[in-house]
């Protein structure tokens, strides 16, 4: 993760909390996490569909986000980075029917994804709590 934006650079008072790199990234990565969950759901649903190729979020999504953030800093509009779900070309079909889904892998990936999701919601949550703390002057 990138370091937080300093207050002096962005100016405003409320802004920095919702403009920190971590917050902006987390917001967009949450979208990716939901898309990945949906892709995994589709993979597991189609575990026996002949010729089905497993879907996943495009592998370069996170690096694209980071690149954009590095160029534009806190003013980066990360929503412009398109979230794409694509056929996973790295997964090889090991079965005769050409299906490239491995159930164990999908279940593992799903658990990994939900840990990531929990982490990201926690991060976004803390940002909002921080803001609330700044407004009310006391921790909740």
């Amino acid at each position: 993760m990138l370091a937080g934006t300093d207050v002096a650079k962005t100016g405003g008072m409320i802004e920095p909390v919702f403009k920190s790199d971590n917050y902006l990234l987390a917001r967009r990565l949450l979208d990716a996490s939901v898309a990945r969950q949906e892709a995994i759901a589709s993979n597991i649903a189609n575990v026996e569909t002949p010729g089905y190729k497993r879907l996943d979020v495009a592998a370069d999504f996170a690096s694209k986000l980071q690149a954009k953030l590095r160029v534009n800093g806190g003013d980066a509009n990360l929503d412009e980075v398109k979230l794409q779900v694509v056929e996973d070309s790295s997964a090889r079909a090991v079965r005769a029917d050409g299906n490239s889904v491995e159930l164990e892998r999908e279940l593992l990936e799903m658990n990994r994804n939900s840990v990531e999701y929990n982490f990201l919601t926690e991060l976004v949550s803390r940002n909002i709590k921080q803001m609330r703390m700044a407004i009310s002057g006391r921790s909740l």
Binding site: V34, E38, A39, V47, E106, M110, S114
Partner: protein
């Protein structure tokens, strides 16, 4: 917009797998039925799936959802067993048994129930994710 990610694809997979288990149950239950309503021995049923395209809610893409296309009949001949005392025995003393193979059915049953369980755990996971999203800021 769906609150639970991927729920529509998963639910159609669940219902497809459940129908499959039902069909296996029917086949096993009728493994000894030598005379059906048409006077013929029971013929095992086979299920076939088709894919229905559904739009993903989180990305601009369509995904395949499995759906039952047809429940067909396996036309392969049943085993003929010599049993002259059987009420359904033909004149030569042979009884045609249903073409149900227990081993096939059991394998099918296990595959279907494993797939069902996997889909259930997807639902459970999606639900936990939705709960987390609701708790944002709390």
């Amino acid at each position: 917009m769906n609150v639970l990610a991927g729920i529509s694809v998963t639910s159609s997979a669940l219902s497809a797998q459940k129908t499959r288990v039902d069909i296996v149950a029917q086949n096993i239950a009728n493994a000894q039925t030598t005379r059906g309503p048409d006077g013929q021995p029971y013929q095992r049923r086979v299920i076939s799936f088709e894919a229905e395209m559904q739009k993903m809610t989180s990305a601009d893409r369509e995904v395949q959802a499995p759906k039952i296309r047809d429940i067909g009949v396996d036309r392969s001949p049943g085993q003929r067993v010599f049993d002259p005392q059987h009420p359904d025995a033909a004149a030569d003393g042979y009884v045609t048994m249903p073409n149900v193979n227990m081993a096939y059915e059991m394998v099918d049953l296990m595959t279907a129930s494993r797939a069902y369980e996997a889909n259930l755990s997807v639902i459970k996971n999606s639900r936990q994710m939705a709960e987390k999203a609701i708790d944002i800021g709390k």
